[in-house]
Subunit: 286 residues, 2 copies
């Protein structure tokens, strides 16, 4: 099933990501509405014409008319929302999300959801170190990756619709992973990198360090500025996978350390050549 | 002593950094020449009018006329160059460099240099992950830090001239550190970050990882693409300081790991709040 302009799209949680979804979809002529806790976010989105309608409470009419509902909430709030309000969904509605961990979310939501509504999970791998609909910007999707994480319970129609949503939003690459595979990879590319950035930022208290730094340190710590509630929740939900990736990384760093200790010039150069060749794969394709 | 348009400036080593120095200085009306190994680099720099004159061998006339000589070479090549060619310097010439480690370089060069020539060391903390004069760009200095590292042997005049050179190049912040302090800090902000990026890039061999990644991983590994000869040399020259910083970082990462293992929500959040607050200091002031 392709995304169509006849589909009414409701965004629940109008922050940076939800707002960026709304901007991208409204620009392309979709009918987009929003439910979010803060009235000022709704007021801002209305005044900027990012959404057609919105509400700071769970407005039954908005939920009932939506063909597609995108959840951009913290995991535990997403689950509570579904528990309390799923009775309001239109029959046949497709639900998707932007959550950064998948296995437990997909299992929990699909396990409790009405049988005439389908949840197809996705992870838009884009973001910024700022928050709120006021900072939303659909250009963050350009060149970025979008991963759909279907389970055995999902239908080909819903998977196609969700992939089409990713392409419509402007992502450069849309792929599929199982929720389990996704969580293993995300523990590495996203959660481990945040652990590293945080530790790098807090392990040294030298004063005025900012006057003696270059872009290397700035780049490695950009994501050390983060929302502690969201990231603690994500870390703990995916704890085992993250601990495994920490072990892999620590082992590799320790290998580099041994080569330094033994002045293994050839070994160091070989590791750097490999890292240089492998890094070339990761440039954004813009 | 202030930098003056009467000063003839010779760049030895016309790569990315040397070329960016030449561009910035020529643009402001200075007389800039260059000596570098590759004739094509000289040809390029002449055709782009980045330098007034240049030579692919050690041209005595170019060295003899220079009031200021900037060395942008690998540390061991810099030392060899001084040993072989210092007899050519004009009496009273000021020599500076761009080397990323300082204690051993400053000691070695100052220990062997003619008494009528002064070496004042500096570290321009700017760079890119590409090489060669063809990629040189003086905009890399904008918003960046420049650190002068005088020893007890330096005169106030040479220190002032070197600081003025940093400001003239367009650096946002010019500061001073002793060579020893510099190397401790650089082991942290530059060398440790490169060790982390390399290890992150090589600890996982999952295929097609690039399709499932976001900007976090891209940012943390940008510098994993590096010149293995130069970085192995820098790591080994500053080995003890780097090993110390590795220990500090590993201890902090391990602390975070323990909090994950024990599900210490409050501890994790506190660490993230501290990292968020501290990171705010490091934004570039452009």
């Amino acid at each position: 099933m392709k995304l169509s302009k006849d589909h009414k799209i409701l965004i629940v949680g109008l922050g940076l990501l939800g707002g960026s979804y709304a901007k991208a979809l409204t620009k392309q002529g979709f009918y987009v509405t929003a439910i979010t806790r803060s009235q000022s976010s709704i007021d801002y989105a209305m005044s900027e014409k990012i959404i057609a309608k919105g509400s700071a409470f769970v407005d039954e009419a908005l939920v009932k008319e939506a063909d597609i509902v995108v959840f951009a909430l913290y995991p535990h709030i997403f689950i509570d929302w579904i528990r309390e309000n799923q009775k309001l969904f239109k029959s046949g509605a497709i639900i998707t999300d932007v959550t950064g961990v998948k296995e437990s979310i997909v299992g929990t939501i699909q396990g409790m959801l009405r049988s005439d509504v389908e949840f197809i999970a996705a992870h838009p791998m884009a973001g910024r170190e700022v928050y709120g609909v006021q900072n939303s910007d659909d250009r963050i999707f350009k060149g970025a990756n979008y991963v759909v994480t279907p389970s055995a319970k999902n239908t080909p129609d819903a998977i196609e619709l969700c992939r089409d949503l990713g392409a419509t939003l402007g992502f450069a690459k849309v792929s599929e992973l199982s929720p389990e595979e996704h969580d293993k990879i995300i523990a590495f590319v996203s959660q481990l990198t945040h652990c590293i950035a945080i530790s790098l930022m807090t392990c040294q208290t030298t004063e005025r360090l900012e006057d003696y730094t270059g872009d290397s340190f700035r780049d490695l710590t950009r994501i050390a500025r983060l929302n502690e509630d969201m990231w603690t929740e994500l870390f703990l939900i995916n704890r085992d996978a993250l601990l495994h990736q920490l072990t892999l990384f620590e082992g590799e760093l320790n290998h580099l350390r041994s080569m330094l200790e033994t002045k293994d010039v050839d070994g160091l150069k070989e590791m750097m050549r490999y890292s240089t060749a492998r890094r070339a794969l990761f440039d954004k394709k813009i």
